[in-house]
């Protein structure tokens, strides 16, 4: 079993996987887009603007999920000195940042016809903006610090500070009186969203998750080759 954790074994899997993931992503995205733009019904209150939810919500979910995963990997990697965990976390960050930006921009586009404004300093929106700043700080730290020990320490501190913001994002709509609507989907209790809207939402979420997996695999391979390039310099 442990032989699968050898860098050569990992690379042999991660270098072959992207083309299959890309194919699957295109298939699922096509189904999701057809559902979201054509087949799903319009909302009785929001009319067709509700369709923006099919890109906004999955993007927000995945950006939060990726930041939580980065934090977990950084903490465990730092405690147990597992360098590979930092490499995985670093490879996840670009797609997390892009999904966070997508969530903010599409939320802003949705806000204009719904609230009458592109932006509001609402608790949910502001806390999502803060998460973008943490993603940027995390990625900049990898560029600034050359020394591995220092970059592992700094990125771990950034993620620990940033993770405090994640429950604030999640519960901001319950804790404060916000413009942003409360969650329509709840894992523990009955969701208020109709199945005709839930299906495209879940399909788009699956497509977005596949895209982040694709970017992760490509970035991870790049990082592995980068390390090997340094190794060749030392020969």
């Amino acid at each position: 079993m442990f032989k699968y954790f050898e860098p050569s074994k990992i690379f042999s899997i991660t270098s072959k996987a992207p083309k299959y993931v890309l194919f699957l992503f295109i298939v699922i995205l096509s189904i999701g887009l057809t559902e979201a733009l054509i087949l799903s019904p319009e909302d009785y209150k929001q009319s067709h603007s509700v369709r923006i939810m099919y890109v906004h919500v999955p993007a927000a979910w995945i950006s939060l999920g990726i930041f939580s995963a980065i934090t977990f990997l950084s903490i465990v990697g730092y405690i147990f000195k597992i360098r590979n965990f930092f490499l995985i976390a670093k490879s996840l960050a670009p797609s997390g940042l892009v999904f966070n930006i997508i969530a903010l921009v599409t939320g802003s586009i949705w806000g204009k016809p719904t609230w009458g404004t592109w932006w509001a300093w609402d608790a949910r929106i502001t806390s999502m903006l803060i998460l973008v700043l943490f993603y940027i700080m995390y990625l900049i730290a990898w560029r600034i610090f050359e020394d591995n020990d220092k970059v592992f320490k700094v990125t771990s501190v950034i993620t620990i500070l940033g993770i405090i913001n994640v429950p604030i994002i999640k519960y901001s709509v319950d804790w404060w009186n916000t413009l942003h609507q409360p969650a329509s989907i709840n894992i523990l209790s009955k969701s208020s969203i109709h199945i005709s809207m839930l299906f495209p939402l879940l399909t788009m979420t699956a497509a977005f998750a596949l895209f982040s997996l694709l970017i992760f695999l490509m970035k991870y391979n790049t990082e592995l080759i980068k390390i090997k390039n340094k190794g060749l310099d030392r020969l």
């Binding site: 042999s12 270098s15 603007s49 892009v98 970017i215 080759i225 390039n229 020969l235």
Partner: protein, 75 residues
């Protein structure tokens, strides 16, 4: 039907902007990561090619280098 798909009761501009921004972001990120990957891959191939026979044999004895040379993906 087609007209409704484009205009969506006046919400078309917002809906299409949101979807276009999302897909454009995907494409941009994909291209950036692909360019970075190709750059590192080409650097690796060039460095490997510049090694003398003895060093190249040693480098090739490491399984990860062998994997990189044989498994470089086209994506």
């Amino acid at each position: 039907m087609i007209e409704n798909l484009f205009f969506m009761n006046g919400y078309g501009l917002y809906v299409w902007s949101a979807f276009s921004f999302t897909l454009l972001s995907f494409l941009t990120l994909f291209l950036i990561i692909k360019i970075q990957y190709n750059k590192e891959k080409n650097k690796f191939i060039a460095k490997f090619g510049s090694l003398d026979t003895e060093r190249a044999a040693f480098a090739k004895s490491q399984s990860i280098n062998k994997e990189i040379l044989s498994n470089i993906s086209n994506i």
